[in-house]
Symmetry: C2
Subunit: 405 residues, 2 copies
């Protein structure tokens, strides 16, 4: 009875398949509060990690050019939206460990943000310059907002301005800067109508060539760095009617005592209590700014030209990494005394740092050692290390709950 | 062939069972970033809810006396630890929707906290007074710390002080107050040794009868309210060597112009920028305190005696509910102008409010209407309502990522 034999074999195979499928599913439902990902820039992959065990649990590839990639998370912390340099936007599922969707929306993108309600993803583009907004569930295009056109004297052509420094703000707003046309725009999705899904408010002549920006942790102050002149442009989002004003008039490359190896990341600004800790440009210094007056309060000498200047979540420490050739070191500033508490040597090419949400640990990507080092922030000692191929950005799911991240 | 018939039927049943088990498991793995729970105090149950859909997805019972219950979350946001008034500590799994374990550790408890690293749960007890510390994974007892003994003149017996105002602080520390013996203690688990799993630091004569306390969102300042005299006791955890100092000397029932219907919850203190918003005791006022000087800056007249005074996560609004007989109203203070933006009437007996992590919504429990009302915080309008039996506290999983919550 060969047929009966086959039929029984088929049944056994089906049962085995179902049993294994069930056991893999039921073995460990995973919570998402302690997850995150590490960008492996060279290979176009991300590692999914768990900060409770300090281990990687999956790798997802085919994500395009991940140099300077950044990440935001859905409000349930299940999905990561990865903004790649090649204009690709990828949606990754941290639970099924799969790439769900990928759209390529421009030729050259620089960053993105997720709206306060979690329903919209905005991406800023270099080339062609503008902002595109997608539904977070399907990645369907919702709005395509070209930047201001200008005459590019180098190419003698008309083109749209590069868009930089895109952040989310309370009230389902996005705020961004136009590099070529010296503008800051507010894109407001809080009161959509059939005719107008959004309102656009434009501030012009904000200062020459805003190149990056940040929003304070409370979502109130948007601050853009200027490439074309010294000083910074600040917009108080509680009072947009007051317009953009200039702060820190000496901030920039003005003196230019040293060559600037790398323009610092403004997203890295640390705000701790009344103080903002700001990377000086081209100097071996961190600047301390009083956030009540937005005036310079003091300067802290550090090991090299600072790139990221990040506050531990409780504001007691500020961690600093540096541009080449000093990028093998990290310094920890004690906020209470404004002194260096310790100089660490994680290894060659420290590119990024990410604190666990309550600040007991910090994860440090060390590109040329192909590792991510985990430090205990109280003892200032390494507690774990993960292998990673040329790691750059590290992004934890706790960002889902923070304004402007 | 009756046997063969049975064998085939058995196989079919097994396959059907496996298929249904698989489909129920695989249908929707659940992320935990947008979850929370609502305490149903009368029935000893909690509703598990999802803030993205504004819906309840499960109910768990047999949790004991849940009046004044409070909740903390594991760092992966999967487990809720529920502190019940009857001295019970319950561990609930938000993914499998089950009560995992319940220990009854004292006759009368008032609250608890989870350590920065997520490994320890501390519970403060009224009767007998003290603090017990449990492992968060197994709920096994780690430390049992009796409070200071004193002579109770009413009963002419020696007993241990009630413990109140227990919070977690950075560095795996817990801080709490001793009501009967006027003390504040720091319980430090950051440097465990075989001989001493913890260090205990005691501050005495802090002020008469601390009845409740709070820690500022940055985890730096611990502030206890005093039942036995006016003023508050403050400990700067960056400088414990400076000891406890007194602030707000007029804070209390001093004038006693009105009967005090309910001592306000200090956990409800809102800190927004440089300002703390504090419920006045027995007055129809919210006090505005400057957190740089810890001095009273101004007073805001409100509808009734404030109970919870809570800041929207971006600090732009402060929401206030009131003691009986004004507990059907909620007022929203605009922090920029210090004016009342709107008075809302959610219904009879508003007991608690909880903001979504990025502040677009607030959930309000309305006990005597047997509902939880969800408000859009920008439009100040109700957007959803959930049925709940005598709801009191509402706790979202985003608390897992915050210091002192």
């Amino acid at each position: 009875m060969p047929l009966f034999q086959d039929y029984r074999q088929g049944l056994v195979l089906l049962i085995c398949y179902l049993l294994s499928a069930c056991s893999s599913l039921s073995s460990s439902p995973r919570a998402t509060g302690d997850l995150g990902l590490i960008i492996e820039r060279a290979s176009g992959k991300v590692q999914l990690i768990d900060t409770s065990s300090a281990k990687s649990y999956a790798t997802i590839g085919n994500l395009g050019d991940l140099s300077h990639a950044s990440v935001v998370y859905s409000r349930d912390q299940r999905y990561a939206y990865i903004f790649a340099r090649d204009g690709g936007l990828s949606k990754v599922d941290l639970l099924t460990e799969k790439l769900i969707r990928r759209v390529v929306h421009s030729g050259n993108s620089i960053g993105g943000a997720i709206s306060q309600d979690g329903k919209l993803i905005a991406v800023s583009n270099y080339e062609p310059g503008g902002v595109k907004v997608f539904r977070s569930d399907t990645l369907a295009l919702v709005a395509d907002i070209p930047a201001t056109y200008f005459h590019d004297s180098r190419t003698d052509k008309t083109k749209s301005s590069k868009v930089v420094g895109l952040v989310d703000a309370p009230g389902n707003r996005f705020v961004f800067s136009l590099f070529d046309t010296d503008e800051i725009w507010i894109l407001d999705f809080s009161q959509p109508t059939i005719e107008n899904p959004y309102q656009l408010t434009k501030f012009t002549h904000v200062g020459r060539a805003p190149y990056d920006a940040l929003i304070t942790p409370d979502g109130r102050h948007y601050i853009a760095g200027l490439f074309g002149e010294d000083g910074m442009a600040m917009l108080d989002l509680w009072h947009p009617e007051q317009g953009v004003r200039r702060i820190l008039p000496d901030y920039g490359r003005g003196g230019e005592k040293l060559p600037v190896y790398k323009m610092p990341h403004l997203e890295g600004w640390a705000v701790a209590g009344d103080l903002a800790f700001v990377p000086a440009i081209g100097q071996h210094q961190v600047l301390v700014v009083n956030t009540r007056t937005w005036k310079l309060q003091s300067k802290i000498d550090v090991y090299g030209q600072p790139v990221f200047v990040m506050a531990r979540p409780d504001g007691r420490q500020v961690w600093v990494n540096f541009a080449f050739p000093d990028n093998g070191k990290v310094q920890v500033i004690d906020v209470d005394t404004l002194q260096i508490a310790k100089t660490l040597a994680p290894g060659p090419a420290v590119l990024h740092m990410e604190f666990t949400p309550r600040g007991e640990s910090v994860w440090v990507s060390v590109r040329d050692a192909n590792k991510v080092a985990v430090y205990d922030t109280r003892r200032l000692e390494q507690t774990a290390s993960l292998a990673a191929a040329s790691p750059s950005g590290i992004f934890f799911t706790s960002r889902a709950h923070q304004i402007g991240l």
